[in-house]
């Protein structure tokens, strides 16, 4: 991903690194989604409501066998299906996103539909902390609580930085937690970079029968690279030629 962003000069690597571990945990340990069952309706679903972290999802889809290495590396090239925000033409992507505040409604619609059809699949929805400022996210939270969608699990990537501000300067995460709880959700927190912690939380969902679950994942924007961690500018910057080797080394990769 460091190389990808270096080559394409695209934004959002910081937001990808804060949520990558969550997606790895879900795709490799928790969810029932495979290239084999993806065309069936009776499975789990993943909605990446913070669509700007799509390259992290592409990487996971590649390593999970949904898309080829060539396809993954076509990211950002002209004519590629892998845009900065995802769409369903990419095998493994459940819905197009990119505008914040859309994903939780779509996820709730899926969860209601699966319950109606007596399918046991769960719907996982990854939200950014910033997008909880969207009124539509709260509309969706109301609906999911009211319809008792306990097959819906939302995860907020609480990296505490949004596009142009410290998130808490706009809306405190406690206020988000309160709104979900008041809409009949069960809420818990986890360390979004600790696989054991995440595993135990996910396996415990639904936290309460008849209630959707919200996991506030405490994360670091730009996790794993000292120069990027908790820095707002990495919402936009891409690693320069000089930085690539150093960043990859910090991430434990080989250059």
């Amino acid at each position: 991903m460091v190389r990808l962003h270096n080559r394409t000069h695209t934004s959002h690597i910081g937001s990808e690194f804060s949520s990558l571990d969550i997606m790895v945990e879900l795709y490799f340990d928790v969810m029932d989604i495979t290239p084999q069952n993806f065309s069936s309706l009776d499975r789990d679903y993943f909605i990446i409501s913070k669509g700007h972290a799509a390259p992290a999802l592409y990487d996971v889809l590649f390593r999970r066998g949904f898309i080829t290495k060539d396809a993954f590396e076509s990211y950002g090239k002209e004519g590629s299906q892998l845009a900065e925000h995802p769409k369903r033409e990419v095998f493994g992507v459940d819905t197009a996103t990119g505008s914040l505040g859309h994903g939780l409604s779509i996820a709730a619609g899926m969860a209601y539909s699966l319950k109606y059809s007596n399918m046991k699949g769960k719907v996982y929805c990854l939200l950014s902390d910033g997008e909880c400022q969207e009124g539509s996210t709260i509309e969706a939270a109301n609906f999911a609580g009211r319809m008792k969608l306990d097959n819906l699990i939302a995860v907020i990537d609480n990296n505490r930085l949004q596009g142009y501000e410290r998130t808490s300067n706009i809306q405190n995460i406690a206020s988000v937690k309160n709104k979900f709880e008041a809409s009949s959700w069960s809420v818990s927190e986890m360390n979004g970079h600790d696989f054991q912690d995440m595993r135990s939380k996910f396996l415990n969902t639904p936290f309460k029968t008849g209630e959707p679950s919200l996991l506030i994942a405490n994360t670091l924007k730009g996790k794993g690279v000292l120069e990027m961690e908790d820095k707002l500018e990495w919402h936009y910057k891409s690693p320069s030629d000089v930085e690539v080797e150093n960043f990859i080394k910090q991430l434990g990769g080989s250059t």
Binding site: K87, R88, I106, Y112
Partner: protein, 305 residues
């Protein structure tokens, strides 16, 4: 029109347990029977239209056919981006149904006037746009609607619009319906204002002109072919719509004519550009824009010389 819509929806739900109706807290005295009978397939989504469209998209992504119902401004304008990204971009079988075409809610004021809806929506991909003229057309379109793989928008009046057809004519979504065939003038109309086109057509025939009337119950895909065929030998084209002419039927007709290197005078009857700050009956509102039987007749007569 509303009653015809609900009756046909009930027929569909009778046969298909995967058809749903979401309403934005509207439908008093319309959905009671349906709500009683299909309690899991009917959901009052409350006053939260953005979520309503997103939920419909999520349901469609998992194999459902979803009708979404509200007054036009609330089902089209409020959740505009959800319609664009979640529904149209992804080509999902979500059926938007809006009541209150044009000045159906004239007394309610500007917030409830629906005069830009199909102009805006025609710019979205994959969307079929239906603008029926009476309840017979609603019934005919509803019988075909689930064969559309992608999304659709149906623009309804309220209730009690006059029936304009003698009997249920064969109506095919996407194909304009020819009501009369004449040599001198071509009338192109959409929605219940078609009634005016029929009235004026008869008046003109009584003074010696013959008129072809094309009923565009489908705005998108736009049936270029029928329009071009009917232009042959005509002196004048007149468009009728209860919508802004700048983005509506008039612009579609003008665009088709120009892009085929043809030249013919077109007189548009519809809503002018300016926002309006008064309200009144539907007829009063239309008259403010020069859309009354008398004004239309006089203008056409003058153009014919």
């Amino acid at each position: 029109m509303r009653t015809a819509f609900v009756n046909e929806l009930e027929n569909i739900m009778d046969k298909d347990e995967n058809t749903f109706l979401l309403t934005g807290d509207l439908g008093f005295s319309v959905f009671e029977r349906l709500r009683e009978r299909w309690s899991k397939q009917y959901i009052n989504m409350g006053v939260a239209e953005q979520n309503m469209i997103g939920v419909a998209a999520g349901m469609a992504l998992t194999g459902k056919q979803v009708f979404v119902y509200s007054i036009i401004p609330f089902v089209v304008y409020r959740p505009f981006e959800q319609i664009r990204n979640d529904v149209c971009y992804q080509n999902l079988p979500v059926r938007l149904v809006g009541v209150g075409a044009g000045f159906s809610y004239s007394d309610a004021g500007f917030t409830h006037h629906a005069i830009e809806d199909y102009g805006i929506l025609r710019s979205f991909p994959n969307l079929t746009i239906l603008s029926p003229a009476d309840s017979l057309e609603v019934t005919a379109q509803m019988k075909q609607i689930n064969s559309l793989g992608g999304p659709s928008y149906m623009r309804l009046g309220r209730n009690g619009e006059p029936i304009l057809h003698d009997k249920q004519k064969f109506l095919k979504i996407g194909k304009a319906l020819e009501l009369t065939r004449g040599d001198d003038i071509l009338f192109v109309a959409t929605g219940s204002i078609l009634g005016k086109a029929i009235t004026i057509g008869k008046l003109l025939e009584s003074v010696g002109y013959t008129v072809t009337i094309l009923d565009y119950h489908t705005i998108k895909p736009f049936d270029d072919e029928s329009l071009l065929k009917s232009l042959d030998g005509k002196r004048l084209v007149v468009t009728f719509e209860e919508h802004l002419v700048t983005t509506g039927l008039y612009s579609l007709v003008a665009q088709t004519i120009l892009s085929n290197d043809l030249s013919i005078r077109i007189i548009p009857f519809g809503i002018g550009e300016s926002a309006i700050h008064y309200s009144g009956t539907r007829e009063y509102m239309l008259t403010q824009y020069g859309v009354s039987d008398q004004l239309i007749y006089e203008k056409i007569k003058k153009a014919l010389g």
